[in-house]
């Protein structure tokens, strides 16, 4: 597995311990949840595991937390083998998808609970709890109970509680999934700010690719219990290594093309560079990002490989998605809403494909050519 250097340099300056997962496997009956997974989190780094449900990302987190036992493999934290340790001895802060505040305790008692278990004196507990609440901006809610807080506030308290014990590792299991879109984006940025501030090595699990790309030092895209690609958000998005990654992270148009054998592919007349320059010549399917496609109207309306009819314009806010029917296939283009409004459904348009590196796959070419 390739581990790009991006992100590591910035993380190395921070505190925190290194976490190594070595050959972790886990079965549930006949289902293979994890299949020999290797992953290293550098000191102070925030790694996001991204993938569809059932890909093993949560299992990875639970194995690291000690909430489940691995069939095989080792978990190393700060150079120490913690594989056999129970969750209560692993010193990890956790935030869950489900609201997990203890309902019978106030916010402050929740945050101080871990310190109480460590027999810290009351004054120290109180101070640390208030410091943590300040970090998440909730000092005014210290005396309240979980049921008096909003979902976003509850997750903030959960984060404060997880950090109060000064954990070696912070584990976030889809902490934002239960929140509404606006709070989610806010809290996402806040988690990143706090994580940078405290410098704790962090594993964040999500199925939301936008969240993953926004917050991560490195993103690991998972599928069927393995990491398909691990790299910086920019790498994963712009240079997906497998068709699955290209499909799962962002949208892709799958277009039939012809690899030239010299590092390029010809897709509907346009010559594009390849991610994998060694691709032999032959028919392939190229994955073209919608934002690499530009739509121009009013040009020549002669039939051509990149001329078609607008069939739908989907307004997404600042951008719009334009779907164009090219006769034998449809192509999505992402463009600024200001430009998209000049188009109308039914209009004849010409597409241009920007020469960004594209991922191609030969194996599915036969299927889609037929």
């Amino acid at each position: 597995m390739s581990v790009p250097a991006t992100g590591v340099s910035s993380a190395a300056t921070r505190s925190g311990v290194e976490v190594r997962l070595e050959g972790l496997s886990r079965h549930y009956g006949d289902v293979k949840a994890l299949d020999g997974l290797d992953l290293t989190l550098h000191q102070g780094e925030l790694v996001v595991l991204l993938g569809p449900s059932g890909c093993g990302k949560t299992t990875t987190l639970r194995l690291l937390a000690g909430l489940e036992d691995a069939d095989t493999g080792r978990v190393m934290v700060g150079g120490q083998d913690v594989t056999g340790l129970p969750a209560s001895k692993r010193d990890m802060g956790m935030v869950f998808q489900a609201y997990s505040l203890f309902p019978h305790m106030t916010v402050k008692d929740n945050v101080a609970f871990g310190l109480k278990l460590r027999h810290k004196p009351r004054a120290e507990r109180d101070k640390r709890a208030m410091d943590m609440l300040e970090l998440v901006g909730l000092t005014t809610q210290a005396g309240r109970y979980a049921h008096q807080l909003s979902g976003g506030q509850q997750q903030r308290v959960a984060l404060a509680r997880a950090l109060a014990i000064q954990p070696q590792v912070l584990l976030l299991d889809e902490p934002l999934s239960a929140l509404d879109a606006k709070v989610r984006a806010q809290l996402r940025d806040e988690i990143r700010r706090i994580q940078l501030e405290v410098g704790t090595t962090t594993l964040f699990v999500t199925h939301d690719q936008e969240e993953a790309l926004a917050i991560a030092d490195r993103v690991g895209v998972m599928r069927d219990g393995r990491i398909e690609q691990l790299g910086s958000p920019v790498d994963v998005y712009t240079r997906p290594e497998t068709p699955f990654v290209a499909e799962f992270v962002g949208l892709s148009n799958r277009l039939a093309g012809e690899a030239t054998g010299s590092g390029t592919v010809v897709v509907r007349g346009a010559t594009l560079p390849l991610v994998d320059a060694d691709m032999p010549a032959g028919p392939v399917v190229a994955q073209v990002r919608p934002e690499a496609v530009t739509v121009t109207s009013g040009g020549s309306t002669e039939a051509g490989p990149l001329t078609g009819t607008v069939i739908a314009i989907t307004f997404l806010g600042a951008t719009s998605r334009v779907t164009v029917d090219l006769g034998d296939t449809t192509v999505m283009a992402a463009m600024a809403t200001a430009e998209a409004t000049s188009l109308a459904a039914g209009e004849r348009v010409t597409l241009t494909i920007r020469p960004n590196p594209v991922l191609v796959s030969a194996e599915s070419a036969a299927a889609s050519a037929g």
Binding site: L67, S88, R118, H147, I165
Partner: protein, 296 residues
């Protein structure tokens, strides 16, 4: 949550000639009439059952306030007798009242010690066994007291050779209250997200013991209270097993008083006091049982 407001949600789907105020009004009218009819039914049912339950109680109260059964007039003598009444050859009435109350407390406590950790543990660690345990806990409900006693006699022979205290009844009473206590505790436990809370606590460094007693149990206090009060009330009213195993609890004592002096006024006053006490307990149960304001 999606609004279930019929007017708002349904109106757009109704063809225009039917739509609007007319339909809504008709529906509201129908609804109102049905609700009124339901209310009338409720009041009648409430009144009938009220009379059915309250009348005997009032009669009991009235008889407990007579100087002698059927004598008419008013007197507090029967109530004063509760503390002093004794039948020759049996323990004093008041001692039986106290023993039975204590037995109720012991039974409730023993039930909690037995059931609360077990049920939390099953939920946390061995959920597949929960059906079996539920079945076992409900079993005493289906076995008649007399059958239970036949099975228990050898056990109690053995117990009575070592300890003759009436408190020893709590062994069988714990079994007897299992069905009710189990149900109450299960309801309390189901209202707690045991998995997430325990994992959160484990992550913070809590031992399993801490998880059970400082995290899960405090959050099922409603179920714990219900189970305790139900167990306690059940013990207050238990007669057949105590009688057949030759113990003298409150109900057995009252039975022997009535055999000696069929119309002893003290029977009425004691019965009334026990009934009212149990009612109060159940009333507490149903009031404390309500969710606190703003909770969840």
């Amino acid at each position: 949550m999606a609004s279930v407001d019929a007017g708002g949600a349904v109106a757009p789907a109704i063809p225009s000639e039917l739509a609007g105020a007319g339909t809504a009004k008709t529906r509201r009218g129908l609804h109102g009439r049905r609700r009124r009819r339901l209310n009338v039914f409720r009041y009648i049912a409430f009144a009938v059952f009220g009379v059915f339950f309250v009348l005997p109680l009032l009669a009991l109260l009235r008889m407990s306030l007579e100087p002698a059964a059927g004598a008419g007039g008013w007197s507090l003598a029967a109530w004063k007798q509760i503390v002093s009444y004794t039948v020759v050859g049996t323990p004093s009435l008041i001692s039986r009242v106290i023993v039975t109350l204590e037995l109720g407390v012991i039974t409730a406590a023993a039930m909690l010690v037995l059931l609360v950790p077990t049920m939390i543990w099953i939920k946390l660690k061995v959920p597949w066994i929960s059906r079996t345990v539920e079945f076992l806990c409900l079993l005493p409900l289906t076995i008649p007291a007399i059958v239970l006693v036949v099975g228990l006699v050898p056990v109690y022979n053995w117990i009575q050779q070592r300890n003759v205290s009436t408190f020893m009844l709590f062994w069988v009473y714990v079994v007897l209250v299992l069905p009710y206590a189990y149900r109450a505790l299960a309801a309390g436990l189901n209202s707690v997200d045991v998995k997430t809370l325990s994992e959160a606590a484990r992550g913070l460094g809590a031992s399993w013991f801490t998880v059970m007693f400082r995290i899960i149990a405090p959050n099922m206090r409603q179920g714990i209270l219900n189970a305790s009060l139900l167990s306690f009330s059940l013990v207050l009213g238990e007669f057949p097993i105590a009688y057949l195993l030759l113990y003298v609890n409150l109900q057995v004592e009252m039975y022997s008083i009535s055999r000696n002096t069929p119309n002893a006024s003290v029977l009425f006053s004691t019965s009334f006091a026990v009934l009212v006490f149990t009612f109060l307990l159940l009333l507490i149960l149903s009031y404390v049982g309500r969710p606190r304001r703003g909770r969840r």
